[in-house]
């Protein structure tokens, strides 16, 4: 009997104060349709809450969404919180209205990938497949 390969679990979260949840919901649905296990936390999550959820759900990936302009503060705060909780095996990606210069800076600070408006959903799925080639989807 082949060993069961664990499906990739992704916690998708809205950090910050804005309530623009169109993008996050579309992405959550697309990832679910692509066979990933998706847990959407809902709105206004603090970095601590996001990491709590990821640990509780035993997730390998955290996907963050923000449209308020606070990404330079909140995305790195999630990465730092993961370090503090010794959970750096969980990878972080994000999306939202994020200017190019900020993307470079965020990647330096430990955010693996940033997807901006206009990104085809398939591109996000392809990135995850490349990042977790060994893991099965549901």
């Amino acid at each position: 009997m082949p060993t069961a390969v664990r499906p990739v679990r992704i916690v998708v979260a809205k950090v910050g104060l804005d309530g623009h949840d169109r993008g996050v919901k579309v992405v959550a649905r697309a990832l679910r349709d692509a066979g990933y296990e998706v847990i959407y936390t809902g709105l206004r999550q603090t970095p601590e809450m996001v990491v709590d959820a990821a640990l509780q759900e035993d997730a390998q990936v955290i996907g963050l969404s923000i449209h308020s302009g606070a990404h330079m503060t909140l995305f790195p705060a999630v990465v730092e919180e993961l370090k503090r909780r010794k959970a750096t095996d969980i990878i972080v990606f994000g999306g939202g209205i994020i200017p190019d210069d900020d993307i470079t800076a965020l990647k330096k600070r430990g955010v693996e990938e940033i997807f901006t408006p206009g990104t085809p959903l398939q591109e996000i799925v392809d990135w995850l497949r490349k990042r977790f080639p060994e893991s099965a989807t549901k």
């Binding site: 804005d18 302009g69 085809p120």
Partner: protein
């Protein structure tokens, strides 16, 4: 004659069907998915008496003189960083011919918390201007005479507080509340449905809305107490018909709540205003605006029994669709915005915000903000479109589409009624699900290239040039926190605490809260302190997320 007309139509139909059709796979339905005929004829015209502007049911406009009497108000939504910087931007826009102000607040202000709250970290001054107390509001309107200008404030959960701050600043300028003109967004239902900037649960939220409507009916009679908004519903992904239906349903829910309070329909109905999106599908938008007026007039007169004509007239502000803008080849956004703005004008809007081309990346620079305003001026003064009232009235296509919008909206009203009304429908996630489904469907159409967005999924540039964007200085956060400390140090603490205590007791009772909030504002209580006082009594709301 009739026989010959039918022959001609059949001949056209035969020729149309035998002509080769484009095979690019692109949808011919509207962006909302309404199937369209290739041609509309007199057979599609509804059979009804001729309609005139200024006459019930106002399909052709609420003013008999259209834009010949008065152009729409060019009202650019603006605010960023500190009150001081935004005050400078307002003076700049007014000097460039803008005719009204529209305040954009930052996220902490919108969420009723002070700039020095832990969860305000990284958010201060980013999406709008940071306002923490009356002191900031005084700075925001310094040198701008509030008697001579109308101001729109996009604020919802804490709307009552910001209105009180505005009233207090006016008092200091020697302008009585009775002379103030402007609009408060104050539309909490669409927050639960789409924009999600709710704080209190629905019932106390509605109480605050009705309190402000009731208070203004007596004390600030020229103020538009609420701007019932479809914009956010549409931007969250709804179709045009959903935007129309959900917004008007919200409007009726506010009317019901005011009637329940014991107010008379004609005492408040004329101060209700609306706010719609102007999306990129040109004719569908025009039909939506025309249908909105007709539906509202009918409901107000026939269902609610309003006697005064002014209670029947739906007045609205329009903003071009932020969601239609692209980060790719951003200069194209000027063209998109111009088309959308034209739809709003042909739809008879009372006021208009045109988005700046860089708003998809950040808050607009001075130059981008000026170009957006100039686009409106170009429409108003160069194109001639303001010379004729409802120029598309009588168009076979636009009239048929107007009727279709109306039909779809009425079908939604029935479904909402079956669920038990707007608030129960929010609580079961009805609107949220409808909107998420529509957003997902549209995204799939884009992925399959059944819809094209230029520069995004077709006609892309390999090398994107980056444009200059506005940056918010991160030092602003600590500076704003320092300003709050100063306000707290300088104010009469006993007076402030007493005002908050009185507010707390009133919130637990049934009094109209506006006078209590006004007292707290005058005593320089911060927005966060006032909200916190009400949260102690009302509690907060958490939604069950619908994916």
């Amino acid at each position: 004659m009739k026989v010959r007309a039918r022959d001609a139509k059949e001949a056209w139909r035969e020729e149309f069907e035998s002509s080769p059709a484009r095979d690019d796979g692109i949808e011919t339905s509207t962006i909302s998915g309404i199937p369209l005929e290739p041609l509309y004829t007199s057979a599609d015209l509804p059979r009804r008496a001729e309609e005139y502007p200024g006459q019930f049911p106002y399909t052709r406009g609420i003013h008999p003189s259209g834009y010949r009497g008065r152009l729409w108000t060019m009202r650019q939504f603006s605010g960023f960083a500190t009150a001081e910087e935004t005050n400078r931007r307002y003076k700049y826009l007014l000097a460039n011919g803008q005719t009204g102000l529209s305040v954009a607040f930052d996220m902490p202000t919108l969420m009723g918390q002070d700039s020095d709250a832990p969860t305000s970290r990284g958010e201060v001054g980013h999406c709008g201007v940071a306002i923490d107390s009356l002191a900031d509001m005084e700075t925001l309107f310094e040198g701008i005479p509030l008697a001579d200008i109308t101001t729109s404030m996009t604020i919802n959960s804490p709307a009552a507080i910001l209105l009180c701050m505005y009233i207090a600043v006016a008092e200091e300028q020697g302008v009585p509340a009775s002379k103030l003109g402007g609009t408060l967004q104050n539309d909490i239902l669409k927050e639960f449905i789409a924009q999600k900037e709710f704080i209190f649960p629905p019932a106390p939220s509605m109480r605050l809305v009705v309190d402000s409507i009731e208070y203004c009916a007596k004390e600030v009679p020229k103020w538009n107490t609420i701007s019932i908004s479809g914009y956010h519903i549409r931007e969250a992904g709804s179709t045009a018909a959903q935007e129309l239906a959900f917004t008007l349903a919200d409007g009726m829910a506010y009317v019901d709540a005011c009637l329940e309070r014991g107010m008379h329909i004609d005492d408040f109905a004329s101060r209700l205003s609306f706010f719609f999106d102007a999306h990129i599908d040109f004719f569908e938008e025009i039909a939506k605006f025309r249908a909105a007026r007709r539906i509202w007039a009918r409901w107000m007169r026939e269902r609610y029994g309003a006697q005064q004509e002014r209670s029947w007239k739906l007045r609205f502000h329009t903003q071009t669709a932020g969601v239609s803008l692209t980060a790719q080849q951003p200069e194209l956004n000027i063209a998109r915005t111009a088309v959308e703005a034209l739809a709003a004008v042909l739809g008879g809007t009372q006021s208009l915000h045109t988005n700046a081309m860089d708003e998809v990346l950040a808050l607009p620079t001075d130059k981008a903000a000026r170009l957006a305003l100039r686009t409106q001026q170009l429409l108003a003064y160069e194109t001639g479109v303001a010379s004729t009232i409802d120029p598309l009235g009588g168009s076979y296509f636009v009239e048929a589409l107007t009727d279709e919008m109306e039909r779809q909206a009425e079908a939604y009203f029935k479904r909402i009624e079956e669920i038990g009304g707007v608030i129960p429908a929010i609580e079961v996630g009805f609107f949220q699900k409808e909107i998420a489904d529509a957003a997902f469907r549209y995204q799939q159409e884009l992925e399959q290239k059944r819809r094209i967005v230029v520069g995004v999924n077709e006609f892309t540039n390999a090398d994107e040039e980056s444009i200059e964007i506005l940056r918010i200085d991160p030092r602003l956060e600590s500076e704003q926190a320092e300003r709050i400390s100063e306000v707290r140090r300088k104010r009469d603490q006993a007076k402030c605490s007493n005002a908050l205590d009185r507010l707390r007791r009133a919130a637990a009772g049934t009094d109209n809260l506006m006078p209590y909030i006004l007292d707290a504002v005058r005593a320089y209580a911060t927005e966060g302190e006032i909200m916190h006082t009400m949260v102690e009594v009302f509690g907060t709301y958490t939604e069950t997320a619908v994916v």
